[in-house]
């Protein structure tokens, strides 16, 4: 260790050391000379003799310093300097190579930083490995982290294995700050939440058990994100009173930026309220709670699970649930270290598949980039034959040359990596915009790990693309090169061409993948839904969050629809409890069918005269009518619950409508039953979707809608504002984003492959100038020369395609679950991909071919 430190010291004082050694040895020589002079030799002779006796002074010096300074370390510095000089000498090549690598490495790093969250990140909490989610498993089926509040309180009080247990209820909040209503994600948590998570507030304080009791002043903690976006990071936000629903609540603290609750995705809570407020501000149908606990130090998850299971079974026994089912109940604990979403893997097959697909595609791009630069380097290496030969001639070993060349390629790739990092923010946001971020635990954050990754990938790619060229370039036949008559290595041309062929194959696979998904998308977009999604805007509203009772809620819906329908620019408006693509039963308002464009075949739609007290009425779709009434008209007939459970009471059928498809991939139309929301159970309501048909672009109508809503109820915020078309689009988000990604990657690979082929062919033409000159002077005309060069390129491409077609058939299995109406061997797609590839590649090959045909035979023959 001490030796190592001393060595480093020497490395820093290298110059001083060299000077010392040189002087010391010179003094030594002078002393020898003096000695010789004393024994009677003439001074000149003595000087010569002393030099002779000492032998090779330089060698002695180098040997001596080799003891102190590792020679390899020093020669790497040398290699780097030489490499740098070499790169600077050819700016065009360097620019192309660095850009290529920047694309490859940058894209990979961006994907890594996105995946990082789901693969490696841990919750921001004290000892996150101690945190656990309890899941209750019945006799069959999957476990659920849902408990009643009584069960929670019992588990918390009676357990001996947990340091603490907390209940939470994620919800939506309508928050009014400075007269501006807004919907935010948030949650109710029991008082000890923050203490258990072990985080400290950024500003103000967190609430505790003392704040979480009925009758206490309502308080809230807000997230750093909300604090930044809504309060401009103003410390005066702490202590401010905001209105949650209709209740004034005091903000008492802000969480630190890294704290995301139990989420590693961007979908974390922006406002946290003590649990006691849930009864007055929570959603009406939220009656169960999720739990998170912290294990006591030294307790295993299994012990704690057993402890909790015992308590739970005891509770069931006491409350009369002592049957076999209850006895089979069991509480298991899942680690909360990495947040609520489990890691990618068997528990999340779809995300895993998508992730694997993206990762494979991005790796192919990197591979194509590597192969591409290997091609360019190979082409370059011919022009460096003389340099290599010279170095070999003056004593460099082949290993040394290979190291030199590898150092250069690693240098290149690190430059590429740095350039890639420069654009990282841009690349990442581009990726985020095409990925269905809300569905995946993607949260782009760059830190030292991203840097480490980029650095590692850079070194790796440098070695990958540098190895083959390095070995090829360092294999130089000394004699002919020095004599100025280099042999054009046949093997070098072969190597470059197979690399281009490999690029062609990989690019084809990407293009075919993108093509297949594009075709699927095209098919999907042609699917008929049975309603007209254009020009319809949708938004959720949550009257319960404002503390509205049933009567006020009903009044709100009616006033809202009335106001909206009579607003200029809006042609129709209505409401429905369930999303239109959610299935076979829906609670709707008057005018629903007109608003979303479902044709009424017979009878009428609901009207304002269908109320809670009037005759129960229902509307059915054609196939339901056919099923129960055959060819007879169902209008005026009664349906009862024992015939169809979707009717909760005897109901008079007043209308028949066309059927709709509920999803893009739905093979058939869905038989549906509609009831007026006014006749539904009270607990079924509390929130509703508003539909607005506009006369112009629906997204442009948003301000009009907001204004109208404000007129009806100033505290009412719109949530999940979307267009119906957009909503449908989201259901095929994965297909769309994958098509876009593969399309981008395919295009990228295509550009790279054509650069590679262009470089290789151009080089091949240059190195064959003389041969082509001879051919032409012997009578070959320009056209046949051009054809010859093009033929050569075609052979390379054909070889690439021959490998690429089976490769893409294999590779596209990865996307088969995303395909719709096409198989992964779809011939038109294959043909189109091959066509695109051929055209681009032929253009890239044509330029060198043209140059070849323009060679002047006389000049060509004189060149060497």
């Amino acid at each position: 260790m001490r030796t190592l430190l001393r060595r480093l010291g020497y490395l820093l004082r290298r110059r001083q050391l060299d000077a010392d050694l040189a002087e010391e040895i010179e003094i030594h020589r002078a002393m020898v000379q003096k000695q010789l002079e004393r024994s009677g030799m003439a001074p000149d002779d003595a000087a010569a003799a002393s030099t002779r006796t000492l032998g090779n002074v330089t060698l002695a010096r180098e040997d001596a310093r080799a003891v102190l300074v590792w020679p390899w370390l020093e020669s790497i510095g040398q290699d780097l300097r030489i490499g740098m000089r070499w790169l600077v000498r050819q700016p065009a090549f360097t620019a192309v190579a660095v850009m290529t690598l920047a694309l490859g490495i940058g894209a990979n790093t961006a994907v890594f930083s996105l995946l990082d969250a789901s693969l490696f990140r841990r919750l921001h909490a004290r000892h996150p490995e101690e945190l656990v989610f309890p899941f209750e498993h019945g006799a069959t089926g999957r476990g659920e982290n849902r408990f009643t509040f009584q069960t929670f309180e019992r588990l918390r009080a009676a357990n001996t294995s947990l340091a603490d247990l907390v209940a939470y209820d994620p919800s939506r909040f309508s928050i009014t700050v400075d007269a501006e209503a807004e919907m935010r994600r948030g949650e109710f948590v029991t008082g000890s939440y923050f203490e258990m998570m072990g985080v400290r507030s950024l500003a103000g304080r967190f609430f505790t058990m003392a704040d979480d009791a009925p009758g206490k002043d309502p308080v809230a903690v807000i997230s750093y994100r909300y604090w930044s976006s809504r309060f401009n990071r103003d410390y005066a936000a702490v202590g401010k009173t905001i209105t949650v629903g209709k209740t004034p609540v005091t903000v008492i603290g802000v969480t630190p930026p890294a704290f995301q609750g139990r989420e590693l995705t961007s979908a974390w809570a922006d406002i946290m309220l003590p649990m006691f407020l849930q009864r007055q501000l929570g959603l009406r149908d939220h009656t169960t709670f999720s739990l998170i606990g912290r294990l006591k130090p030294g307790t295993t998850a299994d012990q704690a699970a057993q402890d909790l299971t015992t308590i739970r079974r005891q509770e069931l026994a006491e409350t009369g649930g002592a049957n076999d089912e209850a006895r089979a109940r069991e509480i298991r604990l899942r680690s909360a270290e990495h947040g609520e979403l489990p890691r990618l893997g068997p528990e999340r097959p779809n995300d895993t598949k998508q992730t694997r697909l993206i990762t494979s595609a991005i790796l192919i791009v990197l591979l194509v980039a590597c192969v591409n630069i290997a091609c360019l380097l190979l082409a370059r290496s011919a022009s460096r034959q003389k340099e290599m030969a010279l170095r070999l001639a003056i004593g460099a070993s082949r290993a040394r040359l290979i190291r030199q060349l590898l150092t250069e390629s690693i240098l290149l790739s690190i430059l590429g990596g740095l350039a890639g990092l420069l654009f990282l923010g841009w690349t990442t946001s581009a990726l985020m915009s095409v990925l269905p971020v809300s569905e995946l635990p993607f949260d782009a954050r760059q830190d030292y790990r991203t840097l480490m990754f980029a650095f590692g990938v850079s070194i790796g790619t440098g070695i990958l693309f540098g190895l083959v060229p390095a070995f090829t370039a360092s294999r130089v036949e000394l004699q002919p090169v020095i004599q100025g008559n280099p042999i054009r290595g046949a093997s070098r041309g072969w190597m470059a061409k197979s690399l281009v062929a490999a690029q062609v194959a990989l690019t084809l696979a990407l293009l075919v993948g993108a093509g297949l998904i594009l075709r699927s998308l095209d098919r999907l977009y042609r699917v008929e839904f049975g309603f007209s999604a254009d020009r319809v805007m949708t938004a959720w509203i949550y009257p319960t969050l404002l503390g509205f009772d049933y009567d006020r809620e009903m009044r709100l819906y009616r006033e809202l629809v009335d106001t909206l329908s009579s607003t200029p620019g809006i042609t129709a408006a209505s409401v429905s409890r369930m999303s239109i693509n959610r299935g076979s039963f829906n609670l709707i308002g008057p005018g629903f069918f007109e608003t979303v464009g479902i044709p009424i075949v017979e009878g009428r739609g609901f009207s304002i005269s269908d109320t809670a007290t009037s005759q129960r009425v229902g509307i059915i779709s054609e196939s339901v009518a056919g099923k129960y009434f055959g060819h007879e008209s169902p209008i005026g007939r009664l349906m009862t619950p024992d015939v169809d459970q979707r009717f909760s009471a005897p109901t008079e059928i007043i209308g028949v409508v066309k059927e709709i498809r509920t999803g893009y991939r739905q093979q058939t139309f869905t038989p549906a039953v509609y009831a007026p929301y006014t006749q539904a159970r009270r607990t079924a309501l509390g929130q509703i979707i508003v539909y607005v048909r506009t006369s112009a672009d629906p997204s442009a109508a948003l301000p009009i809608v907001r204004e109208a809503v404000k007129r009806v109820e100033p505290n009412l915020a719109l949530f999940d504002v979307n267009t119906l078309a957009g909503q449908l689009d989201q259901s095929i988000g994965t297909e769309r984003s994958t098509a876009m990604l593969l399309g981008c990657f395919g295009g990228l690979a295509l550009i790279l492959a054509s650069i590679g082929l262009f470089g290789t062919m151009a080089h091949s033409v240059t190195s064959r100038t003389r041969e082509l000159g001879i051919r032409m002077s012997l009578g070959a005309d320009r056209r046949s020369v051009r054809r010859m060069v093009l033929r050569e390129a075609l052979i390379v491409v054909a070889a690439g395609l021959a490998v690429g077609v089976p490769l893409s058939v294999l590779g596209t299995r990865l996307v088969s679950n995303l395909l719709f109406g096409v198989v992964n061997t779809d011939p038109p797609t294959m043909a189109a991909a091959i066509g695109v590839l051929l055209v681009v590649i032929l253009v890239a090959a044509y330029l060198p071919a043209r140059r070849a045909s323009l060679i002047d035979p006389m000049v060509a023959l004189r060149t060497e």
Partner: protein, 112 residues
């Protein structure tokens, strides 16, 4: 690129020990060490600089000797090497080891 750092006649590592022994008598510069070795060994050990200086650097690196610039006998600059306490200890250890080795070799030769 194999070059020997010690004269072929010496056992590996012996040169380092001899240098340490030479310095045990007091600080010397490189030439002085070489001369001393030659004189004492009656011209048998002629150490060239191609082995002397690497050996000295090795000793420096291990902290067994210290080097300082000073004035030589006839007032010229020279770099003087001094034995450090660690070097003295090392010399003792190497001597014991070396004598054991020599005795062993002699035994083999005599009984052979």
């Amino acid at each position: 690129m194999a070059r020997t750092n010690t004269p072929p006649d010496l056992l590996p590592g012996t040169l380092d020990m001899l240098i340490l022994r030479t310095l045990a008598a007091g600080p010397k510069h490189g030439y002085g060490i070489a001369e001393r070795l030659r004189q004492v060994s009656e011209d048998v050990l002629q150490v060239g600089e191609s082995s002397l200086y690497p050996a000295l650097q090795r000793l420096l690196l291990n902290g067994w000797v210290k080097a300082e610039w000073g004035a030589s006998e006839n007032n010229r600059r020279a770099r003087y090497y001094t034995l450090t306490p660690a070097g003295r200890k090392r010399l003792g250890a190497e001597r014991v080891e070396f004598e054991r080795l020599v005795t062993a070799i002699q035994r083999v030769l005599q009984t052979g």
